[in-house]
Amino acid sequence: MLNTQRSETGSSNNININEGIVLEFTNVQKIFSSGRLETHALKNISLGVKRGIVTGLIGPDGAGKTTLMRLAAGLLVPDSGQIMALGMNVSTDYLAVQASIGYMPQRFGLYEDLSVQENLDLYADLQGLPKNSRPDRYEELMNMTGLAPFTSRLAGRLSGGMKQKLGLACSLLRSPRLLLLDEPTVGVDPLSRRALWDIIQHMIKEEGTSVLISTAYMDEAERCEEVVLLYEGKMLGNGTPNQFKKDLKGKSYTVSVSGMKKREIQEKIAAYPSVIDAVIKGGRIRIVLDVESPPDIEQLLPGAKVISIEPTPPSLEDSFISILPKRQSKNERKKTDKKPARTINRDHFENSGENVIEATEVKRRFGDFYAVKGVTFEVRRGQVFGLLGANGAGKSTTFRMLCGLLPASEGTLRVAGANLRYAPAAARSRIGYMSQKFSLYGNLSVKQNLRFFSSTYGLYGADRTERMEWALDEFDLSQLADSNSMDLPLGYKQRLAMACALMHNPEILFLDEPTSGVDPVARREFWSRINSLAEQGVTIMVTTHFMEEAEYCDRLAIMADGEILALGTPEEIKAGQKTSDNPEPNMEDAFISLILGKENKNS
């Protein structure tokens, strides 16, 4: 009855707004079909987005977040069910809906060959922003986003964080009542992420905007007033972060143990049946149990010296991990069974003190611009070395030089004992490289990709067959062996890319932002693989935007503007940024204070 009333009154209906619901999905289904294959992107979704707050849409890749956003924006039509936005039916009144919402797609929707100002003008024209109100609105938005000094710069020349802010500014031009942001912070550095959240909070407070934001970052989801958890097209939960965390009360603890390597402890604990999750956080191990009692460390880690066990408030990430079906559990157990046979004593490598990568005063110049201005560091065998920095900090350039893809302008680089200036090919055969975009052949199957990449490294016959079997087994890809890699979910693509980089048993593995845009579950799997590789003596060099991942590294370097700002273990770096205001900085605090410190010095 209520439904028919709504459709009759159409766009003039404001009942929903009065109720405080700005976006409402009722039994929405969306099916994509390509050929005979049907994908149920959304299965019977019903939810409401409340007015004047931030609602977070979280879920792993392929959960249906983008589909939901596009349905809400009227870019897709649901196969069944109804979507009402701002009191209007999105399927029939989509033009009216689009006239009153703001939407930022994943790639920001900017014209890279237009300047900041020209992008603003275009979207102001398209959204029908009156001429006389433009100067004020432009000024306001440019000040809010900090883009005021760059209005004449081409959008393509902006850093990732600045592009994201410009994209946001373009969608905010006409003060939308409902703002839809599709993963706005993927691949953006922490500083820019903070700025984005400040803008969102400002919009809510000053202009009463309602926001729906999809994100893969759990700390961002934590900042939302309401959270919707999607998984494989189904809604697994909907509520405030506290409602999500309620069930986990008394089940999360941090443990500090001496006499063992943190990573080793973490892995041992994670393998225990009643442990849902175990991660390294701030120098301690954070564990989540499925029972409400303090963990029995004697039982978990026989023989370890426990310094302290403290209860800690549960986080949304804990709840996320506990709600999501554990797809990797079988594999993990299998791996732990195998491990003793292959594990090599890590201490052996660390004590041997052999440097596998040595960079001395390395510079790289493009024209008169120095992308890398003299970096020096070394990485020992079996270490996990992290390279952190905002976009444009010189991480990728450093990486390419280390892989022998780009010659250094000055300085010396030694990788696996070979000087890259004289013997790049010798070094290259001993390294594996996984690029940001995964470099897979989309229209080849998983098996064909593996076969191709192993043949590029000169593997043939029985060796290759054996190696391919290893990869399919180790990365749990056997069931998908004949699917095209293009059709794999992101997490699986990432596994396949890593398998391809490992086909020739490299001594050193370079991973360029391997976890960008990947959900927490897939990230955990990924790091457990990295750890087991490191234990086998593979040296791993990784770049990342995720500050918590920095904690998993043995050592790391923080880069900005082509220079290394800090180098050392995660503990050393955090300790270096202690202030009276913040006696116990986390990695993100340390990163931001290093970057800001450098900016202050420059100005």
């Binding site: 596009r70 033009l95 689009q98 919402i101 929707g109 890279e112 237009l114 024209d125 398209l126």
Partner: protein
């Protein structure tokens, strides 16, 4: 306001993107210079070897006809082997063989024989050379008869007049045809690419969530590229007239209107291709194979449609450039011949309406 914004954006993008400038202005100039100066379908200064086994006043009389002609670059050799070698190594395109008994037989009742060997690898060229040789030979016969004081009494006389392109300059019909090619390039290829680019870079998604209507997005592409295409045409016409002395016998307004019609047909094809493929690489490939190559090969621009097999001739009817090439060649060389212009215009309108209509229908504001 929305239209203005879209059109201004498109022009800014055209100005900033060197590749679209290159396709719109550099390509026409290069193509025009290449076809105007480089390619000539005329057979002039054809190298021929004349074999004179025993020189005599008679043979000299005969060969002088070749030396005096601008169609031939003759060289005289004295044995057949040398000539044959020159033909095989492509130094000459034909051999005129006057045997040793040429002078003697000339005055005998049976008459003398001349052997002509032509390199027929290029059939078209071969035929032209053969025609030229015959013309020189009959002229020479006439001269002999006149010298003997006889009146040549042929029952039928051919009075040749070449109309429309009296000098038989191939430039005069190649250059107008080029205009069709250049407009296809701008209209179909460039539009297909820029529309696909919007899909690829995700800007289409952002455009669609603004209150803009799909037909405004389409118009926002059509208008700028229409202007760009007409600019490219203006440039080509100016170069044709000023640089290559191609006459324009028809009226400029008819040229403008017919070009506009063709431009819409080309834009329609370009937009249709990119709305189907949504990917720059594929759109570029498809546009070249379905619009540019047919405009090159099947439009009658270089290869005469009348001499194509029946099936291919039928195929040319779906190619817009065919109608436009025929209009252009008429307008430039013959004038406003309505019986040619009007039916061809109707065909262009039909094709343009078909593709624009199809694109219009396909373009609802949805992603999936």
């Amino acid at each position: 306001m929305r239209m203005r914004g879209l059109i201004r954006k498109e022009f800014l993008q055209i100005l900033r993107d060197p590749s679209s400038i290159a396709i719109a202005f550099l390509m026409p100039v290069v193509l025009l210079l290449l076809f105007g100066y480089g390619v000539s379908l005329d057979a002039e200064h054809v190298p021929v070897a004349i074999v004179v086994e025993s020189p005599s006043p008679d043979t000299a009389n005969f060969t002088s006809g070749f030396y005096g002609s601008r169609y031939f670059n003759p060289i005289t050799v004295f044995d057949f082997n040398t000539a044959e070698q020159k033909l095989r190594s492509r130094l000459v395109d034909a051999i005129i063989y006057l045997r040793g008994d040429f002078t003697r037989k000339l005055r005998s009742p049976g008459g003398a024989q001349i052997q002509v060997i032509i390199n027929g690898a290029d059939a078209n060229n071969g035929r032209i050379i053969s025609g030229y040789v015959q013309a020189i030979w009959s002229k020479w016969l006439e001269n002999i008869a006149l010298a003997k004081g006889e009146q040549v009494n042929l029952p039928v006389n051919v009075e040749q007049r070449v109309w429309f392109n009296s000098e038989l300059r191939s430039k005069n019909f190649l250059v107008p045809g080029l205009i069709a090619l250049i407009m296809t390039l701008i209209g179909a290829l460039l539009t297909a690419l820029v529309m696909a680019r919007e899909w690829e870079r995700g800007t289409m998604e952002a455009l669609m969530v603004t209150p803009v209507k799909m037909r405004e997005i389409l118009l926002g592409k059509i208008l700028p590229y229409f202007i760009l295409g007409m600019g490219g045409m203006g440039l080509t016409v100016a170069m044709a007239v000023l640089l290559f002395d191609v006459p324009i016998r028809g009226s400029l307004w008819v040229l403008f209107i017919t070009s506009s019609l063709f431009m819409f047909a080309a834009l329609g094809m370009g937009l249709f291709i990119s709305s189907v493929t949504k990917n720059q690489f594929v759109a570029g490939q498809v546009a070249i194979i379905t619009t540019f190559l047919p405009a090159f090969i099947l439009s009658g621009f270089i290869f005469d449609i009348g001499s194509m097999p029946w099936l291919i001739q039928m195929l040319t009817h779906v190619i817009a450039a065919r109608y436009f090439v025929s209009i252009l060649q008429t307008l430039f060389l013959a004038g406003d011949v309505w019986s040619v212009v009007i039916p061809n215009c109707l065909a262009l309108i039909l094709i343009g309406a078909f593709f624009l209509g199809l694109t219009w229908k396909r373009s609802d504001k949805r992603l999936g």
